[in-house]
Structure formats: structure tokens, C-alpha cells
Symmetry: C2
Subunit: 189 residues, 2 copies
């Protein structure tokens, strides 16, 4: 997606440890106009798929999923990190290891909101090692819903997550795939 | 806001401890069509105010703020809970005590994205004791931006947060104000 790549080149900042910061438009401050273009693009990538719900994960996925949902006319469901006192006991859960934060956490989704009648699109901002995404797929599989596709805004193409997910047979669409950034320049695959 | 109140009456669930669960449409599963009506209503409540940015807090505020932002044509900025490794050191911070989770946490906003040129609308899903909101106001004051208004979806009118904030002189607009729910029935003020 050219508009997104141009924005990453303009406002993305590379940091030590292969980190690309896009906090000026994607995951701290949010450019809602850009998110709307991302939503349109995701709709075009999955236009032939039956989607009944969008599944994402807090916090950065929520804005992208919510704006995109307007193009699919479906509700959003976001997985929570760690068990919340205000959630019912009847939860799908999955354990996720975060390399970014060097810790494990539990994601939870209420069983009430996902079942075998659903055909979902999973959306998230970043795909790197793929652990969060595998947690969401695990939750989806527990619910016996269909995973119709996976939409990612930025995939780190030099990490294994993308291959792992594609090898499982899912239609994974990443709107920008970063090539090796270890030389501190932003390039796309 | 009548549509919201009807939805709370239809799908809200009262739990022990004066908790109103609205996780089927507002803070776990998200009814994006309803959020769009909420966004329109917030625009109408603040139509004469200059708004340059919407400030909210993760996670439940993000969807509401993002959909509402489309009616204001401004970016969203969401405060993060606890310090993230991927955020710059240059942060506004404020300490917040959560009664719901019985713990303290730190909210952070990058200084890059809020300054004295901004005139912001603060948006959140719930207002009860008001601690999270006071944290957001604290962050806003540190940045010397103008707080043009505060929009809340559901205010617990039997807790002190609403009075506290109004007594500080802010235009606080709550789209549904719950009356005492200790008898386990939902009523509005």
C-alpha cells in the first residue's frame, strides 16, 4: 500500500534493536484519515470473503480494527491482555510471549462473543515473531469459528512470523512488509 | 442520548459491586454503528469548540475516540498505561489509582504530541470516581494545552467523579448518567 509506505518513510523512526517507531500516526497518536485508507485497503484485499466479525488485540489494534470495521459493516471484538476482574469467567484464553516486553501474558476473549457461526478477520498493527497473532488464532480455534483472513499493517519481513502464519495456510495480507532494517535504513520487500 | 440509554437497558448487565457490564457493545465487543452515533452526538455537544486533537486512554477509550474523531477531523492521542519500552523518555506522566483493579498505574503521553497550541477533547467510556480522567487532565495541564471539553459515554452519577470534574469548571458531557444501581435496576438521571 503505497500511501502507507510513503508515510512510514516520512515519519517512521528506526531505533536500536530493529525497532520501527510509528507512534506519530499508528500506535500512540493516530492519523484517522490514514486509518480509513488502511480500512479501505483491507476491505479490497478481503472483498470476496465472508466476514462476520473483526478480532484484534488491545491496545494498538483497536483503532485500526474499529475504523476498518466500517468498511465491513461488522462488530469488532478485542482480546484483552491479562484477566480483567470485570470479565466473566467464561473465557477463551491463550498464553503469549512478548519479545518486545520480554514477558508472558494471557489474552482473553469472552466465549459469548465468538462461536462456530463466526467467520472472522484478524487485524493487528505489527507482525514480527507472530506470537500475539498465534494467540489470537488459538482463541479463534477454541471457538471453532472460521478464520477468513488476517490483515496486518506492518510486517517485519526479516522475522519469522509472516512465514509461520502463511505456512499454516492462512490468507495473510500485510500492507507494508519491511525488509532488513539492521543497516538503519527503511526498505520494503 | 436516547439510543444509548435504550441499548444499556437492553444489553447492560448489573453485577455485584455497582458494576454495569456493557461488554457486548462498548468495551470488549464493539458495536461500531452505535459508536458512530456516539461520535455524532459528541460532535453536536461540542460543535462550537475548537478541537485540534482527541485525547483518550487505552484500551476501552480508543475505539470511541477513533470513531468520534471522524466527526471532528482531528487525530487521536491515547495515553498508555505503564511505561512502554518503545516510548521515548520524553513523556508526560501521571499516577492513577484504579478502584476497579485496586492498584496504581502510571499513564504516559509522549511530549511530542501535545503542547500549548492544542485544544483538546478528552473522551472515555466510563466516569466513576474520576481518577483516570483527573490523570488525563493532569497530563493536559503539563502540556499547557487547552482542555476544550470532556465527553464520557456512561457516567456513574452516584459516584463523585462527575461533580469533581464539573466543579473544576470543565464542560463535561456524559451521554448517559446512571442513577443509583444498588437495587439492581438500571435507571438514568
Amino acid at each position: 500500500m503505497e500511501l502507507l509506505k510513503q508515510r512510514i518513510l516520512k515519519d517512521g523512526v528506526l531505533k536500536e534493536g530493529n525497532i520501527l517507531k510509528v507512534d506519530s500516526f499508528l500506535n500512540h497518536q493516530l492519523d484517522i484519515t490514514l486509518l480509513n485508507e488502511i480500512g479501505k485497503e483491507l476491505k479490497s484485499r478481503f472483498k470476496d470473503k465472508k466476514i462476520t466479525k473483526i478480532l484484534t488485540i488491545e491496545a494498538s489494534g483497536i483503532a485500526i480494527a474499529s475504523i476498518a470495521a466500517q468498511h465491513f459493516n461488522v462488530p469488532v471484538l478485542f482480546a484483552k491482555k491479562a484477566k480483567s476482574k470485570n470479565l466473566d469467567g467464561d473465557l477463551y484464553t491463550s498464553e503469549v510471549h512478548s519479545f518486545t516486553y520480554k514477558k508472558d501474558y494471557t489474552i482473553t476473549v469472552s466465549k459469548k462473543f465468538l462461536n462456530s457461526d463466526d467467520s472472522i478477520l484478524i487485524i493487528d498493527d505489527f507482525l514480527a515473531a507472530g506470537n500475539a497473532l498465534l494467540g489470537l488464532i488459538d482463541v479463534a480455534n477454541q471457538s471453532k469459528c472460521n478464520v477468513a483472513g488476517i490483515g496486518i499493517v506492518i510486517e517485519k519481513g526479516f522475522q519469522e512470523g509472516g512465514n509461520t502464519i502463511r505456512n499454516l495456510g492462512y490468507q495473510l495480507e500485510s500492507l507494508a512488509i519491511l525488509d532488513d532494517i539492521s543497516d538503519r535504513t527503511i526498505k520494503f520487500k
